[in-house]
């Protein structure tokens, strides 16, 4: 499989996970399990890419210039992207589960999921803000 094919495949898999998390009514918990399963597969792809390309990469994590050099390897660049896909999805899984736990309405969760999908940590920060507000204003949530 070419890098572009793997990129598309991983992206589609992640997308499926996000759609399940966002569109399935919150009273059902199985989307978390399904999305986690998808994340496991994407993470396996990541592990495989590292196994294949790590020893051929130049650069490292010591400086921004080193990181840039690392990502000059197309295989490692793909790995980096796949890393995002896997972990952002897992954050989405956590957000949905935590929202259900503290009683945050799904209408607030969906924009957080969208933001996490597009801008990773920003979506998580927005959710953490909503969560703080919810925990401080509602006596029910623990």
């Amino acid at each position: 499989m070419s890098h572009e094919q793997l990129f598309s495949l991983a992206g589609s898999a992640a997308m499926a996970g996000w759609l399940l998390l966002a569109l399935v009514p919150p009273r059902f918990g199985w989307p978390q399990g399904a999305a986690t399963g998808i994340a496991l597969l994407i993470a396996s792809l990541y592990a495989a890419l590292i196994g294949v390309y790590w020893t051929r990469g130049e650069g490292g994590f010591g400086s921004l210039a080193d990181v840039a050099r690392l990502f000059e390897s197309r295989g490692l660049l793909l790995a980096g992207w796949v890393h995002y896909l896997a972990f952002d999805l897992l954050v989405g899984v956590w957000i949905r589960g935590e929202a259900a736990r503290i009683g945050l309405p799904h209408a607030w969760v969906v924009p957080c999921l969208l933001l996490t999908f597009l801008f990773g940590p920003v979506g998580w920060l927005v959710f953490m803000a909503l969560r703080l507000f919810r925990l401080r204003t509602s006596p029910v949530a623990a």
Partner: protein, 285 residues
């Protein structure tokens, strides 16, 4: 056993279907079964890597070796679990039982790390003497492998020490013989194999045109054939025992001994065959 009442319900076996065997292994010995499952799951990233990587060792993809060994760990741990399942619970909970379990799991983990590490680095694992580190790793791996064999033998001895009637005699004989043969024959075949510089005897020194999946040489001797047969005596003999017991053959124990003798002869034959430069079943693809 007589029925207590004509209205007594027939017990429905809970384990049917595709998952019944993995579930049976879990019930037999959960730690070893979990280890077997993890070995199987580790194949996912390894097979993905196999489909992507273009690097080769001995002219075949670097990831073939870790993949093959992971499959064999599934089988090794699964068989150890199954054997414990044939014995009273107390055996696996004894000091010896727990030691066998821990050592077998630890050994598989170490071997996996070595094999996967070599694949990541793009270098051979076996016979690798290019650097002090890989040389030492190969030697250490040999010690770990012998330890894995010793666990098979140790478990076989635990089975042998079971009182009469604890386990069907033919099955007992099959497990013990399988353990002894696996241990002794693998020591001989693998010992000889590792004393050289490669698994080929004559023929092309490449795995590219080898037998599908196993990579055995098609144009010369390959010492791995005898090594493979020796190792899988751990499964082959017990399988024979299970079959004979299930078919309720009379003289089942005798048949097991006969089967063991034939199996040893087969190991010896393929070993000598390899040593004489001859390939195993060269007409096979």
């Amino acid at each position: 056993m007589t029925a207590t009442s004509s209205t007594a319900r027939q017990a429905v076996p809970a384990n049917t279907g595709l998952l019944s065997f993995p579930r049976a292994l879990h019930d037999a010995q959960p730690h070893l079964a979990a280890g077997a499952l993890l070995s199987l799951l580790a194949l996912v990233p390894v097979l993905i890597a196999l489909s992507i990587d273009t690097r080769t060792v001995n002219d075949i993809d670097v990831w073939i070796k870790p993949a093959k060994f992971l499959v064999s760990f599934v089988v090794y741990l699964g068989t150890l679990a199954w054997v414990f399942g044939q014995l009273p619970r107390a055996v696996q909970e004894s000091r010896s039982g727990r030691a066998i379990i821990r050592i077998a799991l630890g050994a598989c983990l170490l071997e996996s790390l070595w094999l996967i590490g070599a694949a990541v680095a793009g270098v051979p694992a076996h016979f690798n003497r290019i650097s002090l580190f890989w040389s030492a790793a190969y030697s250490a791996a040999g010690v770990v492998a012998v330890t894995m064999l010793a666990m098979i033998l140790w478990q076989g001895l635990l089975v042998a020490r079971q009182p009469r009637g604890a386990i069907a005699p033919a099955l007992k004989a099959a497990i013990v013989l399988g353990a002894v043969i696996a241990f002794a024959a693998t020591l001989v075949t693998a010992g000889y194999l590792s004393s050289g510089t490669g698994h080929w005897v004559g023929g092309t020194r490449s795995d590219a045109a080898g037998l599908s999946l196993l990579g055995w040489s098609r144009d010369g001797g390959d010492l791995r054939v005898a090594h493979f047969l020796a190792l899988h005596a751990q499964q082959a003999l017990p399988l024979l025992g299970v079959l004979l017991v299930a078919l309720r053959r009379p003289q089942a124990t005798t048949a097991v001994w006969l089967g063991a003798a034939v199996y040893v002869a087969l190991i010896a034959f393929t070993f000598v065959q390899a040593l004489s430069d001859a390939p195993f079943l060269p007409w096979l693809g």
